[in-house]
């Protein structure tokens, strides 16, 4: 088993038509179904949706002092909108799940392996 993060990348001021209330309802139901399926198969570890990047705060050390600033770390049109953490047999299995999610939410998903997890003893 390898652990992967599926990060959902949203694009600011996306030119697409916003979803109608009905489409949102459908999409939400589909997501619920998909997450239930992931939990049933044991793939799901954790998932979450994030508020928009304007709500972010950055903390860093500057000249030995903690410096707190407003805003996302990287100003970009694309930002992390949410993520899934899953366990999958291999990349193909992870990509297949990512494909199901992106079909529902219509936003690109980046699939990345966690470091070291593969080295843990198998259960």
């Amino acid at each position: 088993m390898t652990r992967y993060m599926l990060s959902v990348h949203s694009v600011a001021d996306d030119a697409r038509e916003p979803m109608t209330a009905e489409e949102m309802q459908h999409s939400w139901q589909d997501i619920q179904k998909l997450e239930a399926e992931m939990q049933a198969t044991g793939a799901w570890v954790f998932s979450g949706r994030l508020h928009e990047p304007e709500t972010a705060t950055v903390v860093r050390v500057a000249q030995g002092e903690i410096l707190t600033t407003d805003g996302p770390f990287v100003e970009a049109r694309e930002h992390l909108g949410g993520f899934y953490i899953i366990n999958a047999e291999d990349l193909d299995a992870a990509l297949a799940l990512a494909a199901k999610v992106t079909r529902v939410i219509r936003t690109p998903i980046e699939v990345r392996p966690f470091a070291d997890f593969a080295d843990e003893p198998k259960r």
């Binding site: 992967y4 990349l91 193909d92 392996p113 593969a118």
Partner: protein, 405 residues
């Protein structure tokens, strides 16, 4: 006994290393372990074979020796227990410890390996580099030279790709039926890209041979896939004409002016036989149709004898399955032979291909045939400025004429 010198041993290893590396990756689950082990077996062969002569089955000897070396090395390594544990669990299907050599077309390790090398999660450059290195037995230096890339750049590309395979756990298996068409397309385009890299760079004709070898391997391992057969037929029929494509002075010879007596009849016969098999299967795809077009050309004793209406019909079909402007351009050329240059030019001028040198070369040729000399010269100049190889540039600067080969 024939001389067993270093060059001969090198050739034997190159012919067999793909099979050995593939088998050892399955056993050890690690590309680097497999490659290092085959390299060590090579060193052993260099000292043993010239003295003792060739073993009865050199390919089997390489795999067995490499496997023993890898196990010795893993025993010595600090991660011994863990890795050997993985070996034990990954080779449960394989009780006989020496049966590393797997048989049966469906489970050939090389087939697994080529699907790993050509996984869509890897860049096309990485797919090509890994395929040539792991299946073709080319060194990183040879791969780098073939693609005009600095060796450190190529080495880094290979290292990154191998790291990604390991870290992201790109699987080592033949895709399931429902994934196969898409995954197979990637494999076929890597092989075709390797062939064309050799075709367009006369100093690297080894790449053509390598692509044909891979094409034959795929056709043996996947005998029921018409597009695999189509790709093999396409490269064989193209290869049959390769020698006549370049003149003694290195310039390009167009199809209409090639010395057809220099075409390789054995390759043409083989390619045409495969094309006929594809026609009977009647599941046309882009490679089969391109092969069929080449088969029609190969049938004509002279350019005038070419069955152009048949070629137009095949391009019509090809345009349906592969609706690209390049296909549309080649179809227009064929239409020019049936309906005249004016009809072809009208089609060509609708295409958006201004950075593709054959587009300008084709326009130049059609304009010349229509007597529009000044426009033709301008188009030749534009084509020459864009042409990638010296042979093509020279040809175009001399106001090339006839058909593209």
């Amino acid at each position: 006994m024939a001389d067993v010198d270093e060059a001969a041993i090198g050739r034997i290893f190159r012919d067999n290393s793909g099979r050995s590396v593939a088998a050892l990756i399955r056993v050890f689950g690690d590309i680097d372990v497999a490659e290092d082990a085959v390299q060590e077996a090579f060193a052993v062969a260099l000292s043993k074979w010239p003295r003792d002569g060739l073993p009865p089955n050199p390919g089997g000897w390489i795999t067995t020796t490499a496997r023993k070396r890898a196990i010795d090395r893993l025993r010595r390594a600090s991660r011994e227990r863990e890795l050997l544990g993985q070996v034990a669990s990954s080779s449960t299907m394989n009780d006989e410890p020496d049966s590393v050599e797997e048989s049966g077309p469906v489970h050939d390790d090389r087939l697994r390996l080529i699907f790993t090398c050509c996984h869509p999660a890897l860049s096309r450059e990485a797919q090509v580099a890994l395929t040539l290195r792991l299946l073709g037995g080319l060194s990183t230096e040879e791969v780098a030279r073939s693609f005009l890339v600095a060796e450190p750049t190529m080495a880094q590309r290979v290292v990154r790709a191998k790291h990604k395979i390991k870290a992201a756990r790109i699987p080592y298996r033949v895709p399931a039926d429902h994934e196969l068409p898409g995954r197979l397309r990637a494999v076929l385009s890597v092989v075709y890209l390797i062939y064309n890299a050799g075709l367009n760079s006369p100093s690297e004709r080894g790449l053509c041979a390598e692509a044909i070898r891979l094409g034959r391997l795929l056709a043996t391992l996947m005998p029921d896939e018409p597009e695999v057969a189509g790709l093999l037929a396409l490269v064989l029929l193209t290869e049959a004409r390769r020698a006549s494509r370049i003149a003694a002075d290195g310039s390009l010879v167009v199809l209409g002016e090639q010395d057809r007596s220099r075409w390789d009849r054995a390759l043409i016969d083989e390619g045409q036989r495969i094309v006929r098999w594809c026609l009977r299967r009647n599941q046309p795809g882009p490679y089969q149709l391109q092969a069929a077009i080449n088969a029609v050309h190969a049938d004509a004793a002279t350019i005038e004898d070419t069955d152009w209406p048949q070629i137009v019909a095949l391009y019509d079909q090809l345009l349906q399955v592969a609706p690209t402007p390049v296909v549309a351009l080649n179809r227009a050329v064929a239409i020019g032979e049936v309906s005249g240059p004016a009809a072809a030019l009208a089609l060509v001028d609708e295409l958006d291909l201004s950075n593709y040198f054959p587009f300008h070369a084709t326009r130049a040729d059609l304009l010349r045939r229509l007597g529009r000399t000044r426009e033709a010269s301008a188009a030749y100049a534009r084509a020459a400025a864009l042409a990638p190889t010296d042979a093509e540039r020279d040809f175009l600067r001399h106001g090339g004429r006839g058909h593209r080969s």
